[in-house]
């Protein structure tokens, strides 16, 4: 299955047309990480935005897993949008295939495709709500 077809199955990209998905797939690189490889590095600048196409990852703080991520999830958006280094590590749990969008291009993509921005905002809001629910 092509990257564009895979993207078309993910909620984040559900509103985009096949040719818009093709433009995204052709404009950005795909990367695959072996199990155990670090993808996002806490405290280091220049991190990218990642969308998981296949596999599982773990959000880690000081080596301890705080959340699990799977196909269709994304990460790196907070540091990509704020310009601040990530506050956690993300490590591949299984072999992990991601679409990689560098920070400046993420901003342009969201401005070009407001439907994508809205989807991302909704997913972000859900994450925030579940984070707040965890608080005592």
């Amino acid at each position: 299955m092509s990257i564009a077809e895979t993207l078309g199955q993910l909620a984040l990209f559900a509103d985009l047309t096949p040719s818009q998905l093709e433009a995204i797939a052709h404009s950005h690189e795909e990367d695959v990480f072996a199990a155990g490889e670090r993808v996002l590095r806490r405290g280091l600048s220049g991190g990218n935005f990642y969308v998981i196409l296949e596999g599982e990852a773990s959000v880690e703080l000081d080596g301890e897993s705080r959340a699990k991520l799977a196909r269709g999830d994304f990460f790196g958006e907070v540091s990509a949008l704020t310009g601040e280094p990530p506050t956690t590590d993300v490590v591949a749990v299984t072999m992990l295939r991601c679409l990689v969008i560098p920070a400046p291009q993420l901003e342009q993509l969201l401005l070009d495709r407001p439907q994508l921005m809205l989807r991302m905002l909704r997913m972000e809001a859900r994450r925030l709500r579940s984070t707040l629910e965890w608080q005592p």
Binding site: S19, Q20, V32, E37, R38
Partner: protein, 490 residues
């Protein structure tokens, strides 16, 4: 008459290297330097790899400056010469500039090929030519490569076969198109309307090649041409004439962002049906020829069936920072296919592993990595007397760091008040492996494309990053930098 004995007969080796282009020759050279028993196999009859055939229309896009402010035999000269292979011996260094006619500071295909042949010849690098790798299997932890000459068993295999197999996108009707590799004579496009599928290296190269002949040329693919990125890319040097014509409104040449829905044969002509990707709408083109400049893939033979994981629509193997398959242990790649290791991709920047200038350093690091892994031995490390001067010198003129920006770094470890040069390693490996207190020097690029030297300091297992101020002449050995780095390391 007795037959000439061919080197590297089938049998057991520590490492088998497949391919006699620049990646295979460079890997074999460094394995030999480290005393690793290996076989070099090639289905070709002579060294040179892809440079026996490509590029078709143009010179290379990587520079070699025959005259430079540093000696050709120096390490620093490598930054001025992106096409010669690396060697320890002065007589093997910088072979390409000596063969250039200086019509341009980019060598021609023939000059590049001659440089590779001269390297293999003068270094006495043997290869078993005319030996084709046919299939692969594991026997326990060992790999078995079946070839036209018999079976080779090894602990690690290094495939250095380039990214040279024509690849076609899955577009209905694209079988009507000639691939870039079949477009040799530009005169055959005289007076014809041509649609080129693809807007990367080979698309612009072929369009430039046929510009003086064709009646009209359309270059189309989904991805927009990123002019800001191209301004900093090696591609701009000779290929962008078609884009220039289009951007200035020239008639008959068009560069458009479309996905190709299908290609239909209508009598003698071809109809290309497209859909806009960065604009709304459809366009149809009736043309005489369609050229598929959709790129190349690594010749992977049966490795995907063995479980090799790939990226880019199956074209490139997915690799670890030391260029090992993420899924097949002991299977390594050198040369152009080493681009399958993207590195940490800071700010989206990839490694320079698609051309000789970058992958010649990968080959040296890979040989060292294999030696350590197979032998358990490490070459002796040199002490570093003056840490600050050493780091500043590397940040100013280490060709490995300036070519493989953000991918390779120079590491110095610290213990009991003394410092040791740990050599050049992938930055990802430094950042993600536990280790003693150490410093890593890396040359990186910021969001605006400006070059930023960066120091990473590992203390007590934590890594901190320090960016140095940009210098307009890229000189990082002056007093302000000395002061800054002294502050960082103290």
């Amino acid at each position: 008459m007795a037959a000439v004995e061919r080197p590297f007969p089938p049998g057991d080796y520590d490492v088998v290297v497949v391919g006699s282009g620049p990646g295979g020759l460079q890997t074999s050279y460094f394995l030999r330097q480290l005393g690793i028993r290996h076989a070099l196999l090639s289905r070709d009859e002579r060294p040179g790899g892809m440079f026996q055939r490509y590029p078709i229309f143009q010179r290379l896009i990587t520079w070699t400056k025959p005259d430079a402010p540093v000696e050709r035999s120096s390490r620093e000269y490598e930054w001025y010469d992106h096409n010669s292979l690396l060697a320890e011996e002065p007589e093997l260094k910088a072979l390409v500039p000596a063969l250039m006619d200086r019509a341009y500071d980019l060598p021609s295909r023939a000059e590049m090929e001659a440089g590779l042949c001269a390297f293999a010849d003068r270094a006495g690098l043997e290869a078993r030519y005319g030996c084709t790798w046919e299939s692969t299997r594991y026997e326990g932890e060992r790999l078995v490569l079946e070839t036209s000459d018999g079976e080779y068993r090894c602990r690690a295999a290094v495939f250095a076969l380039g990214v040279t197999e024509p690849w076609r996108a899955e577009v209905p009707g694209l079988e009507h198109a000639a691939h870039y590799v079949d477009t040799r004579d530009p005169a055959r496009y005289e007076g014809r309307d041509v649609f080129v599928v693809g807007k990367r290296n080979s698309g612009f190269e072929v369009a430039q090649g046929i510009l003086p002949w064709a009646r009209s040329i359309v270059l189309g693919s989904p991805r927009p041409v990123q002019t800001d990125a191209l301004a900093l890319s090696a591609l701009r040097v000779r290929y962008l004439h078609p884009y220039d014509e289009y951007a200035r409104g020239g008639p008959g040449t068009y560069v458009i962002d479309v996905s190709i829905e299908r290609i239909e044969r209508i009598g003698e002509r071809l109809r290309v049906i497209t859909q806009g990707t960065t604009w709304d709408g459809t366009l149809e083109f009736d043309v005489d020829d369609v050229i598929a400049a959709t790129g190349f893939q690594a010749p992977l033979q049966d490795l995907p069936q063995l479980g090799l994981v790939t990226v880019a629509d199956g074209r490139i193997p997915a690799l670890t920072p030391f260029w090992e398959s993420v899924s097949l242990p002991g299977v390594f790649f050198a040369g152009n296919a080493s681009q399958g290791a993207r590195g940490i991709g800071k700010r989206g920047a990839g490694a320079s592993s698609t051309s000789v200038n970058g992958f010649r350093y990968n080959a040296r690091v890979l040989a060292g990595h294999l030696a350590e892994r197979l032998d358990g031995g490490r070459p002796p490390r040199e002490p570093v007397a003056d840490l600050v001067s050493f780091l500043l010198h590397e940040l100013t003129s280490a060709p490995e760091l300036w070519v493989q920006k953000g991918y390779l770094c120079r590491v110095v470890s610290a213990a009991d008040g003394s410092h040791v040069d740990e050599g050049v390693v992938p930055l990802a490996s430094f950042l993600d492996s536990p280790g003693p207190d150490a410093y890593a020097a890396s040359v990186e690029v910021d969001e605006a494309g400006k070059i930023v030297p960066t120091l990473y300091v590992r203390r007590g297992g934590d890594v901190h990053e320090h960016q140095l101020e940009h210098h307009p002449l890229h000189r990082y050995d002056g007093e302000p930098y000395r002061k800054h780095v002294s502050g960082i390391v103290s």
